[in-house]
């Protein structure tokens, strides 16, 4: 740096055109490279999201456009509309019925795959197979499987002397059927993500635990599960973002009906409600208000997930530290009882 110090004193005018061009290239190129992303993303990603709020403050429909400025009226109407709450209930119900068993099954499958298998690749591929069936196709297939009259499931139930289930009329049965579609497509996918996390757990941990006499189940709960927690939270957050926007499956579950989401709106999710409000009823202002509420809910839940997992993590380190301290104490006491020379240890303390 010291040898070149006279050069800047001469000023940039001493540089040739090529050199200046090269400097500009170094300085401004990065901006040129990231700009397309920010411009496009701003236009088609962020701007619509923010503009949703503007639309929601108007009595907007397609023919008249913005219509009347109504302030927060759309929000007031929606928050008092039982169908809005019904859609939220359905969304959360389907989300919970799908995500909890799905994550449990995915963790189990991942643990089974996390062994020294013969034909590893084949088994990994085999759990991923349902993922290649698109949600629309999944919905068509399962809406037949869960058909009330001639569905595969009800045929079997009747053959076994059980009552057929009203999958398309009963609320819970419908939710279970829709959750089944989601689970079918995503369990293997999530199992592979969790498997990757499990494989990153150092083998020495398992070895030393088994030396200490920890069995297979104990090793799973005390080593595997805590080690994959960050990945688990990640899977949970992505599942939440996706699950709370579920649309295709409920839309196509009983598609012959005029009302979307079942005869009694019993599996009309919030996204389906938004779609119906805007594109069937031409109430864009209200649809935008619902979309904005859903957006806020999803972002809030994402934040809660994040902070909750963080505080659990710090709590657990505290607990495990306390546990270690207690064990050390017990160990020292045992040592003291066994070895008469424990006086020395006490003195050290």
């Amino acid at each position: 740096m010291t040898t070149t110090s006279p050069a800047p004193a001469a000023g940039t005018s001493a540089l040739t055109f090529r050199q200046r061009l090269s400097r500009a290239d170094v300085k401004y190129s990065p901006y040129v490279y990231v700009a397309p992303f920010f411009i496009l993303f701003g236009l088609v990603g962020l701007f619509p999201l923010l503009y949703t709020f503007v639309v929601s403050l108007n009595d907007w429909d397609l023919l008249r456009g913005p219509g009347e400025w109504v302030g927060f009226d759309n929000y007031v109407i929606e928050l008092q509309d039982p169908w809005f709450w019904n859609s939220l209930f359905n969304t959360f119900s389907i989300f919970l019925i799908s995500s909890i068993p799905q994550l449990a099954a995915a963790t189990f499958i991942a643990a089974v795959l996390d062994q020294n298998l013969r034909g590893k690749t084949f088994w990994r591929l085999s759990v991923l197979l349902p993922y290649v069936v698109t949600p629309a196709a999944v919905a068509l297939i399962f809406s037949q499987i869960f058909s009330e009259q001639y569905g595969l499931v009800n045929n079997l139930l009747t053959a076994w002397g059980l009552d057929p289930v009203m999958w398309k009329h009963d609320t819970w049965a419908g939710h279970v059927a829709i959750a089944t579609m989601v689970n079918w497509r995503w369990t293997g996918y999530n199992a592979l993500i969790l498997l990757a996390a499990m494989q990153a757990v150092p083998t020495e941990l398992y070895e030393s635990a088994s030396l200490d006499g920890a069995g297979r189940v104990r090793r799973f709960f005390s080593i595997t599960l805590p080690s994959i927690r960050p990945t688990f939270v990640f899977v949970l957050i992505t599942a939440t973002i996706g699950g709370l926007q579920i649309f295709t499956e409920p839309k196509l579950f009983d598609a012959t009906r005029a009302t979307p989401g079942g005869a009694y709106h019993q599996f009309e999710t919030t996204t389906l409600y938004i779609w119906n409000m805007a594109f069937n009823q031409d109430r864009f202002g209200r649809a935008a208000a619902i979309a904005f509420i859903l957006l806020v809910i999803i972002v809030l839940i994402g934040l809660i997930n994040y902070f909750l997992s963080k505080s659990i993590a710090t709590n657990e380190t505290k607990i495990s530290r306390r546990r270690t301290a207690r064990r050390l104490d017990r160990y020292r006491q045992a040592e003291r009882a066994a070895v008469p020379a424990s006086i020395e240890i006490r003195q050290e303390r």
Partner: protein, 293 residues
């Protein structure tokens, strides 16, 4: 089991003498049995669709459906082709998914490279912004997007389906994470020393290094675009993609379920082919942290 009767110390001693690696041991029949059962169970709905989609409607009323497909697949398929414009929709889906994939790959690699390897003012702030937008469900902007498309008169064209997903925050994030470790800074400096412009350096150093990640990102972007249903349903109009056309099979007044299932199977075939050739890449992509686009 026999060791259970031995004293704990003996067990420990034995284990110390011959430490068995936990994951090195070959698992037993139970494991393979479980995995096979899982595979059969999860593949069955698809197989059953094929069986039912290749039969007549009588197959839907029997309690135990046959295990082997019937002989009516082509007849049912012809019925699908006359009910919906299957080939046109397929072509639309190919155009939409390919355009989105190429665009996402180009812009993500470019921006990801800049974020990973170039120094510029505001880099960290802008990257943080990209990461934050990952957690925002941008799909919820459909209402204004549709209003805009309508005003531009784009509804009913493939462009309206393509434009909103030309770039994704996830793509930029993914490429940045990959490139930050994979290209040594010295390599870029060396290229600069040799007088290469920034873009030449990107093209001859960045892109070749990014290829493995581009393959994964491309595959996932293609699949996400291919499977999308909500947005094409809204803007496609009379020019639908495969997923939208497929759903029209069921919305007809008279629904023949064997035809619907045959259509579902037909629509799955392209992705099954993709799965056959790129399944390993898909698996390694998921395991490398390539997540829902």
């Amino acid at each position: 089991m026999s060791t259970a009767t031995a004293s704990p110390r003996a067990i420990v001693a034995e284990k110390r003498r011959a430490p068995r690696p936990i994951r090195g041991r070959r698992p037993g029949f139970l494991t393979y049995g479980l995995l096979t059962a899982w595979f059969v169970g999860s593949a069955y709905p698809l197989w059953w669709s094929f069986v039912a989609g290749s039969s007549d409607t009588s197959v839907l009323t029997v309690p135990y459906p046959p295990l082997l497909p019937g002989g009516r697949f082509w007849e049912n398929a012809r019925e699908v082709f006359t009910t919906i414009d299957f080939w046109g929709a397929l072509l639309n889906s190919v155009i939409v998914a390919s355009t989105i994939t190429i665009s996402v790959l180009f812009f993500s690699t470019l921006a990801g490279y800049a974020f990973a390897k170039l120094r510029f003012r505001g880099r960290n702030g802008l990257m943080l912004f990209v990461i934050l937008t990952l957690a925002i469900p941008t799909q919820l902007g459909i209402i204004p997007l549709f209003i805009l498309m309508k005003q531009f008169g784009w509804t009913g064209s493939l462009g309206a389906i393509i434009v909103p997903t030309l770039v994704t925050a996830f793509g930029v994030f993914f490429m940045r994470q990959y490139l930050v470790d994979v290209i040594p800074d010295e390599l870029i400096e060396a290229a600069r020393m040799d007088g290469a412009t920034q873009f030449r350096t990107f093209w001859h150093v960045g892109v070749p290094a990014a290829r493995p990640a581009m393959a994964i990102l491309g595959l996932f972007t293609f699949m996400t675009a291919w499977t999308d249903y909500l947005w094409p349903l809204i803007v496609a109009g009379s020019n639908p993609t495969l997923q939208v056309a497929l759903s029209q099979l069921q919305s007809a007044k008279y629904v023949n379920y064997t035809i619907v299932l045959c259509g579902a199977v037909l629509a799955t075939i392209p992705l099954l082919i993709l799965f056959f050739f790129a399944g390993r890449l898909l698996v390694s992509g998921i395991m490398a942290g390539a997540v829902k686009g």
